[in-house]
Symmetry: C2
């Protein structure tokens, strides 16, 4: 089968063997907003052109491709949600019949104060990660532009919250007075840790980020260390503001995942790190398996 994580900015395609292992993978900056005329079928053909055989008739997708602006809108499923709920809500995309394209729904939740939250794509990664991990009750963190923290009990996602950590980091680095002081990042885990500590001090996030500027002006930090210091402040605030119940699982790219694991370790929480690609493909493979079992 072919598994695809199709987001706003990127398309990630994986060819899987019958056991769900990755045989081949491709990534292109062809998010749903970049597909001219919304011709998703043509974009799919192009990225999978030379992956032709009978088994590849089956394509299962997750991510923003199921959004209103995607191929076909797949309504959000409410939490608590188990893998079975996800599989039941999958919808077929209109195709010319050469392939069966199934698109997974996203999830909607309300936080403890009643404010809604949404995800599309991460829910599949969460179920994939749970199938890899030895635990079925955990807090799953998915760092990124919009970082997600999901509470999972007995394999069911009971709720989640989003933190705009990655987007705020990019905004401050690219467009703010802080970014103008920064040199290209030189990995400096000491400054990252200093940022984590800073996040636990008084006066809040909006004050702490100004310290990136003043500590540089006072020669306490150098320009190439500012990105890691800022990263530590933001990730530190994300972690400190969340009530994370161990065990924790971090699903992400190796570099960013390692930073999150370090941030959790900093407050005494050990975390298992699972790569995004593995989580995505195991999750989409599990959805396909469940669909097959229920096929008449």
């Amino acid at each position: 089968m072919i598994a695809i994580d199709w987001g706003t900015t990127h398309l990630r395609a994986y060819r899987l063997d019958d056991a769900g292992a990755i045989v081949s993978r491709r990534s292109q900056p062809k998010g749903i907003m970049a597909i001219s005329g919304g011709d998703f079928a043509a974009a799919l053909d192009e990225i999978t052109r030379d992956w032709h055989d009978a088994a590849d008739r089956e394509v299962v997708m997750s991510g923003m491709i199921g959004n209103r602006q995607g191929w076909v809108e797949v309504p959000y499923v409410s939490c608590p949600a188990a893998l079975r709920d996800l599989a039941d809500a999958v919808r077929a995309a209109p195709t010319d019949g050469a392939r069966d394209v199934l698109i997974c729904p996203g999830l909607v939740s309300r936080d403890a104060d009643g404010v809604p939250d949404v995800m599309r794509g991460e829910e599949v990664q969460i179920f994939g990660a749970l199938s890899i991990s030895t635990t079925t009750t955990a807090t799953v963190l998915l760092p990124g532009t919009h970082s997600k923290h999901a509470a999972v009990t007995n394999g069911s996602i009971t709720g989640f919250v989003t933190h705009m950590t990655g987007e705020v980091f990019a905004l401050l680095s690219d467009h703010s007075i802080l970014g103008r002081l920064m040199a290209p990042r030189r990995v400096d885990l000491g400054s990252f840790d200093a940022g984590l500590d800073r996040a636990r001090h008084r006066n809040g996030l909006l004050h702490h980020i100004f310290g990136v500027r003043t500590r540089m002006l006072m020669n306490e930090l150098d320009a190439a260390s500012l990105p890691d210091y800022l990263s530590g402040i933001l990730i530190g605030h994300e972690i400190a503001s969340a009530a994370i119940s161990p065990p924790a699982i971090v699903v992400g790219e190796p570099d960013l995942g390692a930073l999150y694991r370090r941030a959790l370790d900093h407050i005494g929480i050990g975390a298992e790190l699972i790569e995004s690609d593995a989580a995505t493909t195991r999750g989409l493979h599990a959805v396909a398996e469940l669909r097959r079992k229920t096929r008449p």
Copy 2:
């Protein structure tokens, strides 16, 4: 005399009578970064061209004009600092002799956790505001791109912290996924208050701002109310994270100052509102008076 607040983006000039009252005022988007070749004398001549008489020989300035990139660098004065400390540290700018140009220093402080903080221009406004207010012990808030909270005891600034509230609001409105959803602001104080309340909930700022998106997607807020809701969240976090000891004085433009006063009132702190122009000119006039008294 002529009083000038010369910042990074704007130049604000005021002609004052002997008592310090504003006779005339001008503002131009000619911050220190916009002065070609650093010819500050020519820029000063241009904005004050038709203000010619003997009394106008005396020009007193505050703001980034005293920074390393300004006309002459005036080193920061350390807190605690009284008006007298500010006046003692003033430096003369090099001129052709037709005028006496004095530039005020900025202040440097360390927050409770030892991280440095700086201001240039706000310290003059604080002393100006104190000369207008009936109190000499207060928390003075100066909202803006970089919002300042200063602790003042018996007329002396004992310390201060900066919050990047205005800059983060602009970044999120202009460059983020939230901004793309926003319609032009329609004043909606109910949404502003909802943002203030949201800031007191769990999960932190990086989560709360994502709610601007999800509450719009779920039709709980409309596009024109999003700016006030976001503003409430950010100002609410700024206020909630600071330990504000009453009485409070807000020094700012009328619209933004009124929002801050509303935010303080929301947590039971009454605040006096003093306009920026009045605070700047009263402060610069007081510096000039002190300088005159100590002249041989």
